[in-house]
């Protein structure tokens, strides 16, 4: 089936938020903190501007608590006299002319009496830098299995390593934006977002309105990647405040520079591994310490950290595991959700470290993985028994065969100024919310039978390019024996759709798709089809029902139920962290130019077992797009920081992969249906970003015989490592 909204996207008719027709509206803009930390001593409005023509909003204008409601309530909607990071919103302006507005923003001066900022999450804060609890730790989590200290003390070989990953900017091509206006006494907010009900929650809380007086509508969203999970609540609040104060519609759309500088990014992380192994390569102990930079507010850091540590030990069997995780408060622009959600950072460290271990033992990295990959019946770090029937070694073997690994590994390296190498990553990704998360969300989907016999799927899960509309259409059509044209998917408008949870965590197809199927079943029960259960019979039954109930609403529903036999303990961090994991083996081939130290990925093989492929084109798109984003993170995407601000908030100096930077990305799927996912599907959206960075760096390690530990591996970094390696080799010879 072709993409349902494809025609609109291909003809320019699709209307993203900035494309919506709007009459008599004001442009909104945000005035931000110039400093990382301190008291706001003055806000000065420059001369030469008639300020009476501008709508001005500050923290005093909030009808409710000055809090962006998320996990915590620590983040203000607008800074009230004190700022905790550069670019923190302080003031809002609106005007009908965008050029005048830009000038006005530049004419406001915010003066801050600076206080000592904490800007490096890796070093313990000095007393004067402490701003959160006793030690700036936003969240501390721990997983413990067996007795790591004892196992390490008796392990024949212990290998240590420290790995670092940088921040990553989402660079969804459509910048963030919102429109707010009043419709009678209902506040309507439309915009680019992944989680309409997060926005509803944030609006009702800070604006002191009930849900009946807030309506949030998602507009076609030009990419999200997690960047439009929590941040849109802030823009929605800002647009709403300006609309409430001015009584006019307000459009608040970021330009790229503002979007890159002020919105969230992937959490930077440092991960330390201490691994005990036998001489033939069996893991006996994994001691792992994860530290992430949370930035100046809690946002989603506790759950990013949680997913990060749960994935940190990799898809391997090991009896003794200890994973200690901390998310640190710093005065950085808050970090937030990004595809992978903590797991890419810990998988990078874990998979890079596996190769370091392999090199130390003189075992081929593929063989080391073969010996340790989880077999059915074995337990993950949280004690979850993996018993899904997937042969994880076979996933790896498939990738090795497709990449022609053995031959390339032996033949590579070459002379001259080019070095070639090949590298592996084997990894997993848990789909859906962690632990009890899905139970707490208690998502609901409705499927309505319409008077003309068609059906309408109502959910709050949104389309951002990944294929929700098409997949839901296909699932409902298949379940009810209808054609795709008999199915409509409702716009994600909170005035109409139930809360089926956020469009995050690779949960939409697997978890919400399953709810679509169950709601379809419920609809069939309700129409009481008397044997005419599906297809044309069902359509006739729906029409009959409406004739018998004029004006009535015929709705089937389903609410999330935890699959049987799943148990999770939030206090001890033990149990079934996820209903299902997707499993993957990725292999990268690289070429390093020794004159420039540039690394080119020349081939990429991505093999994954994802339960069931619901739509081959879309699934492939998720993998290829995710791999591209992962290669960017590994080699190119370098956030440069200066006093807590991103110094390269432009696409000229923050580089993402272009057509010239990417290899062929060869994709293969293996299927082993998951009984509780839609048609057997497991989550896929995030998995592909977990593997590329370690695979690419492992390939560089193979090519040059060095052990790079930090991404992005820019030419400057690689040159330093390679020359240090050469110096060390020289010293050894002498």
């Amino acid at each position: 089936m072709h993409r349902r909204e494809g025609l609109a996207k291909l003809t320019g008719r699709e209307r993203y938020v900035d494309d919506l027709p709007l009459d008599d509206f004001l442009w909104g803009a945000t005035v931000r903190s110039p400093a990382s930390r301190g008291r706001v001593t003055a806000v000065r409005f420059g001369r030469g501007i008639d300020w009476s023509q501008f709508v001005v909003v500050d923290s005093q204008d909030l009808p409710g608590p000055n809090e962006i409601l998320l996990i915590e309530r620590d983040q203000p909607v607008l800074a009230a006299g004190y700022v905790r990071h550069v670019h923190e919103p302080v003031l809002l302006l609106a005007h009908r002319d965008r050029v005048a507005l830009r000038r006005a923003v530049a004419a406001v001066t915010i003066e801050v009496a600076p206080e000592p900022a904490a800007l490096d999450f890796r070093v313990p804060p000095r007393p004067e830098q402490i701003q959160y609890g006793a030690d700036n730790v936003l969240k501390h989590l721990r997983i413990e299995k067996g007795d790591v200290e004892r196992a390490l003390a008796t392990a024949p070989v212990v290998v240590e390593g420290v790995y670092e990953t940088g921040a990553q900017e989402h660079v969804y091509l459509e910048p963030q934006g919102m429109i707010a206006h009043m419709d009678g006494d209902v506040l309507v907010v439309r915009g680019s977002m992944q989680c309409p009900y997060y926005v509803v929650k944030a609006l009702t809380h800070a604006l002191n309105r009930d849900e009946q007086h807030v309506r949030v509508v998602q507009t076609p969203t030009g990419g999200g990647f997690g960047g439009k999970e929590e941040y849109p609540s802030t823009i929605a609040l800002h647009a709403a405040l300006l609309a409430l104060k001015s009584g006019r519609p307000v459009k608040l759309v970021y330009d790229r520079t503002e979007d890159m500088a002020a919105t969230t990014k992937r959490h930077p992380a440092r991960v330390r591994h201490r691994t005990g192994v036998t001489r033939d390569g069996k893991l006996v102990a994994q001691d792992i310490e994860v530290v992430m930079d949370g930035g100046a507010y809690v946002t989603l850091s506790p759950v990013v950290l949680s997913r990060g540590i749960i994935h940190a030990a990799g898809p391997y069997a090991c009896e003794h595991v200890r994973i200690d995780g901390r998310a640190m408060f710093t005065n950085a622009v808050p970090f937030g959700a990004f595809r992978g959600f903590g797991a890419p950072q810990t998988h990078f460290a874990g998979e890079r470290h596996m190769d370091v271990v392999a090199h130390r033992l003189g075992i081929d990295p593929a063989e080391l993985r073969r010996r340790n990959l989880l077999r059915d019946g074995e337990r993950t770090a949280t004690g979850q028994v993996v018993n899904d029937g997937t042969d994880r070694v076979a996933v790896l073997e498939r990738a090795l065969a497709l990449a022609d690994y053995d031959k390339k590994r032996a033949a590579n390296k070459a002379g001259g100024t080019t070095r070639r190498g090949i590298g592996i990553a084997t990894f997993h990704h848990g789909a859906g919310f962690t632990g009890s998360g899905e139970v707490m969300l208690s998502s609901r989907v409705d499927v309505a039978g319409l008077p003309d016999g068609r059906i309408e799927v109502l959910s709050a899960n949104i389309e951002m390019g990944q294929g929700t509309i098409t997949v839901f259409t296909a699932l409902a059509a298949a379940r009810l024996g209808l054609t795709p044209d008999d199915v409509v998917v409702a716009e994600a408008d909170t005035a109409r759709v139930p809360n089926s949870g956020p469009t995050v965590a690779s949960r939409t197809s697997m978890v919400v798709g399953r709810l679509v199927e169950r709601a379809c079943d419920d609809l069939r029960r309700r129409v009481n089809t008397g044997g005419r259960g599906k297809g044309e019979g069902l359509k006739r039954a729906i029409m009959d029902w409406h004739r018998a109930h004029p004006g009535g609403r015929l709705v089937g529903s389903a609410t999330y139920e935890r699959p049987p036999g799943i148990a999770w303990d939030d206090h001890t961090y033990t149990g079934d962290a996820y209903g299902a994991f997707a499993w993957a083996a990725y292999i990268a081939e690289v070429e390093v130019d020794l004159r420039t130290y540039t690394t080119r990925v020349t081939d990429f093989v991505a093999v994954q077992e994802i339960g069931k492929v619901l739509h081959e084109t879309f699934a492939r798109g998720q993998v290829q797009g995710g791999v591209a984003q992962g290669i960017g993170w590994a080699l190119l995407e370098d956030c440069k920081w200066q006093d807590g601000a991103m110094a390269n908030a432009q696409l000229t100096n923050y580089l993402i992969p272009t057509t010239e930077d990417l290899p062929p990305i060869r994709v293969a799927f293996l299927e082993n249906p998951y009984p509780h996912g839609a048609q057997g599907a497991k989550g896929l959206g995030e998995l592909p970003i977990d593997g590329p960075a370690p695979a690419v760096l492992n390939a560089v390690a193979d090519a040059l015989g060095v052990e790079p530990t930090t991404i992005p591996l820019t030419p400057e970094r690689l040159m330093e490592i390679a020359e240090r390696g050469a110096r060390n080799a020289e010293q050894r010879r002498q």
Binding site: E5, P175, D255, E616, T659, V667
Partner: protein, 173 residues
């Protein structure tokens, strides 16, 4: 004081057009705000992302860097002008069939850049396609489906009876 308006005449998607707008406006702004054609998107407005690509006399240009005034007397093509007489351009068909548009935000620009390429190079190599599209960013697809769609459309435009490439190299098992 708002700038007084300037008026220009040019050819827009095959039709003569006369528009009045503030003279400082970029072609991007003129198209979106004064011509009401929002199919042309913006991703940076600094000439960095290619999202605002349109064709000026058949050649791809970044509409965010060009003044609207500079188009007087020229031919401008936007994505809205690609489908002729109610029929999709073969590139649009191929993009639909192969799923080359995901979020779709970059798509109008890719379609136009590809159209310009095929006009001068009916049988482009993969390398030529990559080069022609190197100024256009896409964050969703990893570009591969886009190349395949361009190749499929090129074959059809040459009159060859092309079938879509296999969706994945290895399918699934």
């Amino acid at each position: 004081m708002p700038d007084p308006k300037a008026t220009i005449s040019f050819e827009l998607n095959g039709e003569p057009a006369t528009l009045a707008f503030a003279p400082h406006k970029t072609l991007l702004e003129v198209l979106r705000e004064d011509a009401g054609l929002t199919g042309t998107k913006h991703g940076c407005e600094l000439g960095e992302c290619g999202t605002c690509t349109v064709l000026l006399d058949g050649t791809p240009v970044l509409s965010c860097l060009l003044l609207g005034l500079a188009c007087a007397g020229h031919r401008v093509t936007t994505v809205e002008g690609m489908a002729a007489g109610g029929r999709l351009h073969p590139l649009q068909d191929a993009f639909a069939e192969l799923g080359a548009a995901q979020c779709g935000y970059c798509t109008p620009a890719f379609l136009l850049a590809a159209q310009a390429l095929l006009a001068v190079e009916p049988r482009p190599s993969r390398a030529a396609i990559k080069q022609a599209l190197a100024g256009n960013l896409c964050r969703c697809t990893g570009y591969l489906k886009i190349y395949e769609a361009v190749e499929l459309a090129a074959a059809r435009l040459r009159g060859e009876d092309a079938t879509p490439a296999r969706e994945t190299l290895y399918g699934h098992a």
